[in-house]
Symmetry: C2
Subunit: 399 residues, 2 copies
């Protein structure tokens, strides 16, 4: 139940396919398809090497097309944070979705239950996270109502208990509180206790690889302790799911996590790239850019047409992609519609009016959410051509 | 040429009109229509009192409906920052638009020229800002091409020279550089030199009223000096346009500015409210809120379903609207999809799961840009009803 339904692409976007990158109007969100596919291959290899499932977070790209590309490459399905994102994925043909977040409103849970019945019909699976008895009983009410209303096979929804392994946001404390929730879930035939959701958001952006290792080691201790308590009651814990791009090599090699949720590796933003890389982590490339044009220029600075309506700045300002040392520039905040550019590094040149530049966003998820479409380019940013238009199906899918 | 064309509202939104505020799903962008109309009245009175025109910035609300409401209340038209915003305004029936920004790409200038011919046909007017000879000559090329291609009366576009009165972003330096641009404009019959665009963005958010006064006094000196140089060449300067919500009482009473561009007064965000109010400034009320629900709660904090995909955080995190001292809460960053809430002030209570809260965004412009629609409520946030749905026509209109 998105606020608006999606429309066909504009003539401009449809006619762009096959044209040179020079034809892309600014500001625009551009995906380097070659780099993206290399990142995808690196991720698939990492998961194979550690024999773990991967379920990339689609809250990052919000595209059913990219979700299906990931599933083709070996992902078991996707995570989302919002019911409306799950609906957008299912509408786009993605039938294995985990809502890795708490859903409380009865109106939303009715949609979740309807979706569960829908994907089961497509031989898929829907999963959701809970962290309270109230969340569980509300979900059970919605599932039972949907079961009563459907003529098809009654669906069962997979329910993961979110435990707080150090992020300090949602989730129950590791230990006994989680065990109590397992028993709550098992009271309801429409719910299946599927395991523990243990994502450590705070660990992702710790710059030091050592600090990230320490954080994830503590998370693993919490999980092992909680799992033991649950298993001591004779209840199996089928899966531990979690991890982000910043820490996933640690979860992958933990022997505890069975599924990785990392999403940003696909596009790799400036903030993740600023982390000290763990030696085991593949070298992911930047694949997401904002193309922008200089609209004003003077002695000491230039101004481009991309501000924070074009790219999110919650994790810092974008970096300017430099093709060579002479084109190094630093981006300063110019407000909603402008970026201020000053020469940096070896460069002393202020770019001239009309010059095209490529920005690497600080944070890919909320940047993608600002755009209705991503323009996929092959053959590089300088001489490439537009290969495809990727709809941001779940843009603004907040509910 | 928006990337996508707009679609009808969803069933959910259409059915919401007439229902209680309780029926609004979260997170959602909600406008307190009563407060908004009072703000509108205060602005109209301020402009009348100082005998200045007002041309509110539609980059804030991005809604043709609200633009027309402002014009009914006395505004001469609207400002926008982007060609695509101008197109959305014209498509919605707003025929007096000033693109208060530099436009450089020839593809965009062709759209500007087409729009100029379109609004002249509707007895309207299109204006644009320039700050370089290159910008002027590119605009002239586009206007001449459009003139050659049209069978109707050839349009003239109003051209304002942007002078930098202290913001340090776009704009030529006050003085001789501006005079040179006047001569450039006057070479082209399709362009009319309409005056000076002198917006001081940096002055808007200076907390101290005294500092804002000093900044705008300096801006006025720059304008008077530049105007004198232009008039000394026998060329009239018809209009000085500028001002934002933070400083507009100063521009209004300057005797120099003839037109106010302030936009945020209509919704009034947390950042502008944090300014020390100039005694002459009307007391604008908060009229824009994000409705959100608590989805997780524990001893020391709760988590709501609104993060920075629901509200912009470039000017600080949102404030939680407190109906009374017992419900005071502080909002902490919980990432893209979550907000973390802790008791504040006299309150010691962590809100329970399911509780509805109202956030006052830090910055209204980029917050509105995250949403496809605003839900207009009358009768207050507690017991009101949904009065109307306001489309964000220019959401994502970046080009």
């Amino acid at each position: 139940m998105n606020p608006t339904t999606k429309t066909p692409l504009s003539d401009y976007l449809r006619h762009l396919v096959g044209q040179s990158v020079n034809a892309i109007d600014t500001p625009a969100l551009v995906v380097d398809i070659d780099a993206m596919l290399r990142n995808l291959g690196r991720m698939a290899e990492l998961a194979r090497k550690h024999d773990v499932r991967w379920r990339p977070h689609a809250k990052m790209h919000k595209s059913a097309t990219l979700a299906k590309l990931q599933i083709q490459a070996g992902a078991v399905g996707v995570c989302v944070q919002k019911t409306a994102e799950a609906e957008a994925m299912v509408a786009g043909g993605v039938y294995n979705v985990f809502i890795s977040n708490e859903v409380i409103a009865q109106s939303k849970l009715s949609r979740v239950a309807a979706l569960a019945h829908r994907v089961v019909g497509e031989h898929g699976q829907l999963a959701i996270a809970v962290d309270s008895p109230e969340g569980i009983s509300r979900l059970a009410v919605a599932m039972n109502e949907a079961r009563a209303g459907t003529g098809t096979a009654a669906a069962v929804i997979d329910v993961f208990i979110e435990i707080d392994v150090g992020q300090g946001r949602c989730g129950v404390a590791p230990g006994k509180a989680a065990v109590a929730l397992v028993h709550e879930i098992r009271k309801h035939p429409a719910l299946r206790f599927a395991g523990l959701h243990a994502y450590h958001g705070k660990a992702q952006h710790l710059r030091s690889a050592r600090q990230r290792r320490e954080m994830i080691a503590m998370a693993v201790d919490d999980i092992v302790y909680t799992r033991k308590l649950i298993e001591a009651e004779g209840i199996p814990v089928d899966l531990i799911t979690g991890a982000g791009t910043g820490s996933m090599v640690l979860e992958a090699s933990s022997g505890v996590y069975g599924e990785l949720q990392a999403g940003s590796f696909l596009f790799m933003d400036a903030d993740y790239a600023a982390n000290e890389r763990d030696p085991a982590q593949p070298q992911f490339e930047h694949a997401l850019f904002v193309k922008t044009q200089v609209i004003s220029s003077r002695d000491d600075h230039a101004v481009c047409d991309a501000g924070h309506k074009s790219h999110a700045i919650d994790s810092g300002l974008p970096k300017v992609h430099a093709f060579d040392a002479e084109s190094e520039l630093e981006f300063f905040n110019g407000g909603d519609e402008h970026g201020i550019l000053k020469p940096a590094g070896a460069s002393r040149r202020v770019p001239a009016i009309g010059r095209m530049l490529w920005l690497i966003p600080g944070h890919c998820d909320p940047t993608v959410n600002l755009h209705d479409a991503m323009i996929g380019v092959t053959g590089g940013l300088r001489n490439g051509i537009v290969d495809r238009i990727i709809r941001v199906d779940a843009r603004g899918a907040l509910t």
